[in-house]
Symmetry: D2
Subunit: 340 residues, 4 copies
């Protein structure tokens, strides 16, 4: 059983939620996935994150997800529960409930849709922090939500004991350093987690305590090892691994609608993720199939899967079949836009 107050350290997996054929939460597979992740060494779980598509579930489902995960984890690793709801009152209720369930902390994304000013972001988190019985991780993801700027982080860290960490997914390394420089002198216990797998090693080297990394849901062995090697100061090996992780990360994040690339890769690792709730057009589905093949080659390189039928191209090369498919997709698009 972990101590409730252990500081947040290491790799927290923002887990995808497997769905069944009806699009409902596949509880059995979710439980199996939780075990699979813990067995492969992740330090904690982070359900209801962006990778976990918290927004595409109902409020009831979000609670159900935490219940299942708390039950299945059974104290083996700490849980960071995404708790953002429709407004501060609903969010505080979620904090209370997740606290009762025994999560280590909650993570609350900055207000989204509306882009709030720093003063508005501050007021939002302060209201929640004053009323939450459980520790809070700020979640900064400026490409999706209102940015949390450095003075706001510092002010919340200073005024609100409950705010114990920030998860930053901006990928901006100097920004992370500015936060650490501003907050650490006034709150030495504050934890800094990066959500940008592409820079995990350098982020750890400038003082981050860990990460909430989507890759750790697919290749937990690699993300965990990268963390261990970096912490141990074995930089040559860490650098090599960071470059390999970058390749995987880019393939999963750039080629398809987020988080479809991660879902596709997870299926290759044997987790029955089911089909995501965001519909995909024919073009997108073709692209996903192609991506899946490419991911299988990358995972095979790492020893996690077999090569796909027909083999993989040497190097980073792309075979003529892929080109043919791309051309077909382009033709399709042209046709749909009335150009053919």
């Amino acid at each position: 059983m972990i101590t409730e107050k252990a500081p947040l350290r290491g790799i927290f997996t923002p887990n995808i939620v497997p769905l069944d054929d009806q699009g409902e939460i596949n509880e059995a597979e979710l439980r199996r996935y939780v075990d699979w992740l813990i067995e492969r060494g992740v330090h904690g779980l982070y359900p209801n994150g962006s990778t976990g598509e918290f927004l595409r579930f109902t409020a009831e489902e979000r609670r159900r997800i935490i219940e299942i995960i708390v039950d299945q984890v059974a104290g083996r690793v700490p849980i960071l529960a995404g708790a953002a709801e429709a407004n501060t009152r609903e969010t505080i209720k979620a904090c209370e409930y997740y606290h009762e369930l025994g999560v280590r902390a909650v993570a609350i994304v900055s207000p989204f849709y509306y882009r709030l000013s720093p003063a508005g972001v501050y007021a939002y988190f302060r209201e929640i922090a004053r009323n939450s019985p459980v520790d809070i991780t700020l979640y900064n993801i400026p490409m999706f939500a209102s940015p949390i700027d450095v003075p706001t982080v510092a002010r919340l860290a200073e005024e609100c004991e409950r705010v114990v960490a920030i998860k930053d997914s901006s990928g901006d390394l100097p920004h992370m350093m500015r936060m650490i420089a501003a907050v650490q002198p006034i709150r030495p216990d504050f934890a800094f987690l990066t959500g940008w797998d592409a820079a995990l090693m350098p982020m750890l080297l400038v003082g981050c305590h860990g990460g909430t990394n989507a890759t750790s849901g697919v290749v937990p062995e690699i993300t965990r090892k990268l963390y261990d090697l970096t912490i141990a100061g074995r930089l040559d090996q860490a650098r090599d691994l960071q470059y390999r992780l970058l390749k995987l990360f880019d393939a999963m994040i750039m080629t398809a609608e987020f988080p479809e690339g991660f879902r596709a890769a997870l299926r290759l690792r044997g987790i029955r993720t089911g089909v995501g709730r965001q519909p995909q057009s024919d073009t997108q589905q073709m692209a996903l199939e192609q991506l899946s093949r490419q991911l299988q080659c990358l995972l095979a390189e790492e020893g996690f899967t077999d090569e796909p039928v027909g083999g993989c191209p040497a190097g980073d090369g792309v075979d003529s079949e892929q080109v043919a498919r791309i051309v077909r997709e382009v033709m399709n698009e042209l046709r749909k836009r009335g150009m053919a």
Copy 2:
């Protein structure tokens, strides 16, 4: 009783929802506000829009809002009901329910938080359109949600009979013209509504059929009159009114966190809006008080309120008290950031 299939024309008010002292929906005041708006000439209502803060209500509350408004409107004007929920399945259920209630159409904002590609936006709306029993208005608001580009609008208009209109809040006039040029030849019945009050007159002049304008919730008399004058070709008067509306719009939209400026102005018109659900910092509250004073002067100029105690500055001038307040706020900010 309006005919269900009347085309969407005119000014639809994206109404704010009054709250009581406990932060709950103030049903009585909402009903009074609906009457107030209809009496002042708006052509329709648009509950659960961005101005209506759909995101800060729970799914149950969003349904309750539509129920109240349908009941109170009692067929006097058409209702465009915001119906976006957590995923396509939930959204389709909302479409079905609002259809049973008798709304003219639903409006569905493009997927937000995640920024989807055009293919993803297309797939999302197609899935909903194929399953909705009620007409659908696409809602494009690129500063908050995934943009709906011109080819996607054209494709949805062509393939989906249920998609009958677009509400575009980009404020980009050539973009509106490109949509009209692409869609009108294939769907002459398609309606184009602008959500950007600052350009209502020119938008109507290039072919828009109306607007869903937040100002119409505060000064319905002006927004409606601007529509009438423009449609009647009385451009000199329309231009003058558009400039006056711009001044009001800018004051409400630029000085405070959206939609707090609109709420503040609405209070000045005698609607008991209550306090919004997004907490405001002390600095923001001081700024809102100042804005309220400024809005009172602007509304007094239009004859809607008395001048505030102490009077209004001549022209656009700002009195010394305002400057003193601004300086106080700056000092406050500096202090909070440890600089004083």
Copy 3:
């Protein structure tokens, strides 16, 4: 002979500079082009603008261009001479020289490359305005240069008599209205010109005095007629023409590197533009050939050229040859990126 102090009104053409086979200024063709434009009704010329690629000429060439144009125009229309040089001292020298040559005014783009704050933009223009013997038009083009915000325009208009106009290429209609509302009460003589052809009609309808429009260099007949119809209040005809101009404008501005599309179209009108100074890759050249064919169809629709050999597709359709070309280009790109 125009009076020097006539206010800036109407359509000023930001003319392209024809080059010869050695890439030098083709003086004879430039003179012929000037006559061609004036004969087709443009109200003025605007050499050394963005369309005129001022940046791709040397300081000496920029002066030579103005000399030729002043000489050829011979007082028939006013000249607005782009005068931005390396720094304020060089710019002021250019102002002095162009003043001696007899231009009506200069146009000075906001500082570019470095993105200056409003205070920096203000200081830059004030320094020039205090030392220029000739009237100055501010040039706001935020996609390329430091934005000139509304308070800065108002302050410069108030403090600097020499600043008599702004050319705004943002295409943002409410922004234009905000400038007019802020400046006109303090400087009734100030002129507002739009550089965004896609919104010329609506810009004129909210109070603009004219435009510096790249389309007027290619289809001066249309741009001029659109201006005339709008000013005359013949809105139905103006709207129709604005839509046709938008189609041409989009084809020229979106399909190729600016201003290559305009150069290609100008060649179709019989002006020997020569090859631009910015090199084009093979892919770009193929795209330009394709664009040229499409432009020829659009210009043929307007009666300015014959249809290309092989004819034009009905409606906006695109023939199979175009699709084949696009596919070839895609294949090429893939190949160059090592994917085929």
Copy 4:
């Protein structure tokens, strides 16, 4: 004497050019500054960079700057000469001239003002690379100029032997890794330099070969030491130094119009920089004086200057005088905007 073909390694200073009271190049002080930099350990010089304000000098002055520096350096360190001119022909002439003078390589910024597509950026550099007698460093600074994307870097590296390095000032660490991953396998000799001082240590740790860092023009001792410590693997000391450099860098880059903060700091180190060519408003000058005082405290902490008269605040605190000044500036701004 350095070998001409030594690979680009270490810290290249993008030097500011001292000006005299007439605003002309102060040759004597520039020579003294060159010596001062070399004595303090920079590995090379990079005149006519962004910090060197290449754009604010005339073409003749840019040549003169390189002449002076080549003469003064006298082979002690390699020179990377900024060579971007009005167009490819002028740029190639500059390459030829600088080659004759004996520079190690030129650096050419991506086309600016116009935002070119990747194909246009490729065509531009290829044209220059095919005709340049001297090695070329690509210069990517997406906040000021057309971005050079990864496939374009890879393609140029593959096709053009003359292209030997890239200077990337994006500060985006994963982007740097993507470039290294794409280029190193095909061009093992290719050098990667970072222009973003805030991330120098992490950039070196993922494989960069050095930097062109503006801080090295002001505190060459620190930037050089940071490079040495990082290369030597003394990460704890390097990290500490990187945080201190970040503080200095942020003060110089964020508080004033670039590169005024660097010029102000350089003056504190005893270099007579003169006044920059971009005029400063009164507000900006007051802010610069305030910045200068703050910089003097930061430089005093590092032992490079005395504390300013009146001393420095403890920690990062700010004294009441500073607050009074800020308030005065705010009042000033309000007044200028007609609000007081």
